[in-house]
Symmetry: C2
Subunit: 352 residues, 2 copies
């Protein structure tokens, strides 16, 4: 007879139903120690029948914390170092983990979604971390379902896709930076403003583009051009080549990240186009890169360190390490430097 | 009576002397589970009396591998993202760890040496990693002694200080890049070449400066100026200001990293100095940054991904995971782009 307590099922119930020891169930959930495939199968079937969820398992295992948080960066090494916004997020995360003796387990995987999923499965199977930080929310993101199945504490930096109830951290006044960028350009007389966005599979890509369009619409303007790019320098150079070849070329361009903006600005100048005299350029994120270059980059600042800190505190609170997860995240804001201004050159466009 | 076996002490001897279970000793060494301070003290005293060393403990615990490697980056967040060479090292390390199911535990600490040492102590005390990768070998480096005391597998990326027997990985033909840079400048007629180095506490800082001086000496030249800087943009801007204010200003400058070179180039252009027409600029590392800017940066390429891979393989071999630690690391080489060339402007110097 299967012993089955009333109310919430326990690990003992699962062990009894599977006909194995509690230690064996623990091993299966833990991913540690050797366990035969049939035993593993029996345990999982029993857990499923009793509706003993992985999340309950996580609670049961709470005493065996790893004191590590995982983060998976899905980018090529070159793209990571060209656009080091991950570094700032990681610094923010670390600044909260470190005082509590938590470590950050980092995985850099290829661009394929399957590589990221495999990394999460391994982190869970081998019970390497107590939680994970996700970035770059995707349209139709499947990672949250996977992580729920794996019973993994999760926090997203960014806006969840639709109503996914994953805990997420983001700044308030999320649209303020891009709105200010458009206001700044319009105030300098720009009417033909282009947008070079990131890959369309990101939630923030669509959101920011909509904010851009709405901000222009408030001045009865529409985007002169919208180019979907890929965050790479080559993509930005290509986009600028196309924009400047147009007879009705834009007088200002917003880019979705700083490295595209810098690469785009350089491409324009190599073509003999003065920045900002012929073309104003605005980036996104405010990475140190933008201050190194000449002209210095006008950009939309994101509080990446604050976002990293907030994400870490959400996980630490859900692990019972701290009571209050609150962190002030500064809203995005426009940082005006040298790459934007009024048109000062002879108007290069011949309207038809 | 205390049971004490002949020969090497075992964990059982320590447990017996301390009057605790073997599991309790394991907990203390492991840093896992809860253990009272007095018990911990008793165990450590017993271990000390029996000369049961941390290194013996490491051997005893070898079956309990953490399957994680640690890396401590001692830089401020801003400096890390302005000069993302760590990102490329990490990518190289990860590419070797990942297929074997090893993770990389990353710690970003402040600039003080004590913060880095505290991080190593914690990694060892809490038994978080099976080994650590060190970078930026220091003059009179004390980290290796500490890590030996902690019984930690260690590998250094770079040249050890003096004859420290720490395992290290570096490229062959280490001087080839800077030599080629000097040859390239001299071939374009430059005779007044300045050097802006990194902090003097690094082994590579002194080495590269000596190579630079020897390469110039082969042409009966000496450095026009040598400025010790700090890898920051502000440091580079300051250095360029001083160099260009000199009546005998240099016609070419080598910088110790790419972000200083880009910031220095921008500072020169802001002062109305043409690059390369008035001033040739060379960086070091070949980060993606150098290709984003205009003019694109001539720089000494380091195989950072290869160095990261090699370091990971040395640790994996010492952990018995692989047999052959060999990785081809490409020697440093000069990558000629747009920031160097012959002087084309009116000679701005008035020799006295």
């Amino acid at each position: 007879m299967v012993r089955r307590a009333q109310g919430k099922p326990t690990i003992a119930d699962v062990a009894a139903l599977a006909g194995v020891s509690v230690a064996a169930v623990s091993k299966v959930v833990n991913g540690k120690g050797s366990i035969s495939a049939p035993t593993r199968e029996r345990v999982l079937t029993a857990a499923s029948k009793l509706q003993w969820t992985p999340s309950a398992a996580a609670v049961a295992l709470r005493s065996a914390k790893t004191r590590a948080i995982g983060m998976v960066a899905r980018r090529s090494p070159d793209l990571l170092s060209a656009d080091p916004h991950f570094t700032l997020l990681i610094s923010g995360i670390e600044s909260e983990l470190s005082p509590l003796g938590y470590g950050l387990l980092l995985h850099i995987v290829g661009e394929e979604p399957s590589a990221e999923e495999a990394a999460y499965r391994r982190l869970a199977d081998e019970r390497r971390v107590d939680g994970v930080v996700l970035t770059e929310s995707l349209i139709g993101d499947t990672r949250f379902d996977l992580l729920r199945t794996l019973g993994m504490n999760t926090v997203l930096i960014g806006t969840p896709w639709r109503d996914d109830p994953v805990p997420a951290v983001q700044a308030t006044g999320l649209d303020s930076g891009i709105r200010s960028a458009v206001e700044h350009l319009v105030a300098h007389g720009h009417q033909r403003v282009a947008y070079v966005s990131g890959p369309e599979d990101r939630v923030h890509t669509r959101y920011r583009r909509r904010v851009f369009e709405e901000a222009l619409a408030a001045h009865d303007l529409t985007p002169s051009h919208t180019i979907v790019s890929d965050f790479t320098a080559a993509g930005a150079v290509d986009a600028v080549g196309r924009l400047l070849a147009d007879r009705r070329r834009p007088t200002a361009v917003l880019f979705a990240n700083d490295s595209m903006a810098v690469a785009g600005m350089s491409a324009a100048r190599r073509l003999g186009v003065d920045v900002p005299g012929d073309l104003s350029v605005i980036g996104h994120d405010d990475l140190p890169l933008g201050e190194l270059v000449y002209p210095q980059l006008t950009t939309v600042r994101q509080d990446l360190v604050g976002l990293g800190r907030a994400a870490a505190r959400v996980l630490l609170a859900s692990l019972g390490e701290i009571e209050d997860a609150t962190v002030d995240i500064r809203p995005p804001e426009l940082v005006v430097r040298e790459s934007t201004g009024p048109l000062t050159s002879r108007e290069p466009v011949h309207p038809t």
